[in-house]
């Protein structure tokens, strides 16, 4: 009801990886506009990739995001192999890729759940403040994170930005013995994940549901991580090469990022909630049971419960990694030969934040002529704005400070990886 115009500029989203800004305009008691403004570096990297060798793409794209290098590498590698007529869909090389990816899921989710998202629910301003009172919870998160680190180091050669991966496979395959320390840690991380699923299930969740079309990968008999077809809750079931027939990326005035939408249908949501809803039956039995006992599944439409879903995915990642290690025989040779040829190829995988789609065009020598990268955050941007608009409307009478905190939490539900650019994410509330 206020006729004053108030503006807040607060560095509220410092715990979201990367930077951007959120602008909310409220007229009286009505939310007039919600805009996320995001700077998006993949656009730069797309230009940077042109003229480079196809073998360089994994290392270059790995640097787009400090938190999910494996996702970028995997999508890039699969796309390059696709151009060159190779599909590594099973066997030990593929198993190693999936194992490495499990490490990244663990690292990313463990950080998000325990140090970024949980403090929102418990009223702490940061994970550090929470750690003083909930030491065991944070230690559990760090244990899971470490299991991810150790796995990344054993398979990828380094804990962050794996240097051991290449188009066609790996430079060097780890021995069974080299994976043993990771397995030992993963056993403990699995127990910790069960505890975290239970614990997150007890957090206070706002009563809030969305009805976005959910989009995730789907692969026979497995929870989607490193490959699959693109499916949706609206009945979509397409090959990665058909992405452009069904999805469109459009520039918007208020953000550097392109906004993706399903042609003729609009906003959609990718990420843990989408994966979970579309693939619940492909989780391991223990992950399913633990999820149900914690009150989520087989469907979950409350974005605040994404914290439980991430915990369930951590449990799954531990079990899947242990399963792969138990059956592991080092691939010999560690990579298949991939000879370049002219053409177009597509690669898609499930980054911790959601589907990550790459498309490359090569000439006969393997020089990259064109690159396109559609990261999960640009896919989710519209859905996040829709969530926020509904959420702010419901809480429009809250004081700005409290509203700001709630918005921060609502954005964090989707763990946007605005990543990759600039320095400040500010929330700007304008009331007229």
């Amino acid at each position: 009801m206020s006729t004053d115009r108030r503006t807040l500029n607060v560095d509220v989203l410092a715990r979201v990886e990367g930077e951007g800004a959120m602008h909310v305009r409220i007229d009286g008691d009505t939310v007039a506009d919600v805009q996320l403004r995001i700077y998006e570096p993949p656009r730069f990297f797309e230009a940077f990739l042109r003229g480079r060798a196809f073998t360089e793409a994994p290392d270059i794209t790995a640097r787009i995001c400090g938190i999910c290098p494996v996702a970028y590498q995997t999508s890039a590698i699969r796309a390059m192999e696709d151009v060159c007529g190779i599909a590594i869909d099973d066997g030990p090389i593929r198993a190693l890729r999936r194992l490495l990816y499990c490490g990244e899921w663990l690292e990313s989710h463990a950080l998000h759940v325990h140090l970024l998202h949980a403090p929102d629910f418990l009223g702490y301003e940061s994970g550090i403040a929470m750690a003083a009172d909930h030491r065991a919870v944070v230690e559990r998160g760090l244990l899971m994170k470490k299991a991810g680190n150790v796995l990344m180091a054993a398979v990828g050669g380094r804990e962050i930005h794996p240097i051991n991966v290449r188009v066609g496979g790996f430079y060097r395959a780890p021995t069974r013995g080299e994976l043993a320390p990771a397995a030992e840690l993963l056993e403990r991380a699995r127990d910790a994940a069960i505890e975290t699923v239970r614990w997150t299930g007890t957090l206070p969740f706002p009563d809030f549901e969305h009805d976005h079309e959910l989009v995730a990968l789907s692969a026979d008999g497995e929870y989607p991580i490193d490959r699959g077809r693109i499916v949706s809750s609206g009945g979509l079931d397409i090959a990665p090469s058909e992405f452009d027939d069904w999805f469109v990326e459009e520039p918007v005035a208020h953000s550097n990022a392109l906004h993706a939408r399903i042609r003729g249908r609009g906003a959609y949501l990718a990420g843990p909630l989408a994966r979970f809803n579309l693939n619940f039956d492909r989780l391991s039995p223990a992950a399913r049971e633990t999820a149900l006992a914690a009150g989520v599944g087989p469907t979950c439409r409350n974005p605040f419960q994404s914290i439980v879903v991430r915990a369930v995915e951590m449990l799954y990642a531990c079990e899947e990694a242990l399963r792969i290690i138990a059956a592991y025989e080092p691939p010999d040779p560690p990579a298949v030969e991939v000879l370049p040829r002219a053409g177009v190829g597509f690669g898609v995988s499930e980054a911790p934040r959601g589907m990550l789609w790459h498309r490359y065009e090569l000439d006969a020598e393997g020089t990259i002529l064109d690159a396109r990268i559609v990261p999960p955050t640009s896919q989710n941007q519209l859905a996040i704005e829709h969530d926020l608009r509904a959420f702010v409307q419901r809480h429009v009478r809250l004081p700005d400070a409290e509203l700001r905190d709630r918005c921060e939490q609502a954005i964090r539900n989707h763990d946007p990886c605005i990543s990759c650019a600039t320095h400040f994410l500010t929330l700007d509330v304008e009331r007229t």
Binding site: R15, L111, H112, G127, A421, H423
Partner: protein
């Protein structure tokens, strides 16, 4: 067991190799045969846990002249403002990772942080000359110190 063991010292550079001056810490660490750590600084809690002395080098963006070098002993106190505004795009910054370590009792016995003021942090940018010179200076100082 007859003599005191050598103090274990680890040199860690952090940043993003593809973002111009944000690579300053990484390059310094490479000069010294240290660890190059791209990505999330929380992982450092395990890296430095067993160390007697950890030296961390990061790029900073505080508004000072490019190439300005800060040195701070974080063993007993949080990083000052100039070193907090790290240019890194990590989920938790170095300053927060240090405070988390302090809260959980996971800091090395001694923790020294060097900040090198950067100018350009865009993806694909080159290292600016003043920052390149600062890298040499810090590498010299850290390499000489016990």
């Amino acid at each position: 067991m007859s003599s005191a063991p050598e103090p274990r010292r680890v040199v860690i550079g952090i940043g993003n190799a593809a973002r111009g001056d944000d690579a300053a810490g990484l390059i310094t660490a490479r000069r010294l045969g240290g660890l190059e750590h791209e990505g999330d600084p929380v992982a450092l809690l395990d890296v430095w846990r067993e160390a007697d002395v950890a030296v961390v080098i990061d790029a900073v963006s505080s508004g000072a002249a490019p190439g300005t070098v800060y040195r701070f002993d974080a063993t007993a106190a949080p990083l000052p403002a100039q070193l907090r505004g790290s240019s890194s795009t990590h989920a938790l910054g170095l300053a927060e990772a240090i405070e988390l370590g302090r809260t959980l009792g996971r800091l090395p016995r001694r923790l020294i942080v060097y900040g090198i003021e950067g100018e350009r942090f865009e993806a694909g940018a080159e290292l600016t000359p003043a920052v390149a010179a600062a890298v040499e200076a810090v590498a010299g100082a850290v390499g000489a110190a016990p």
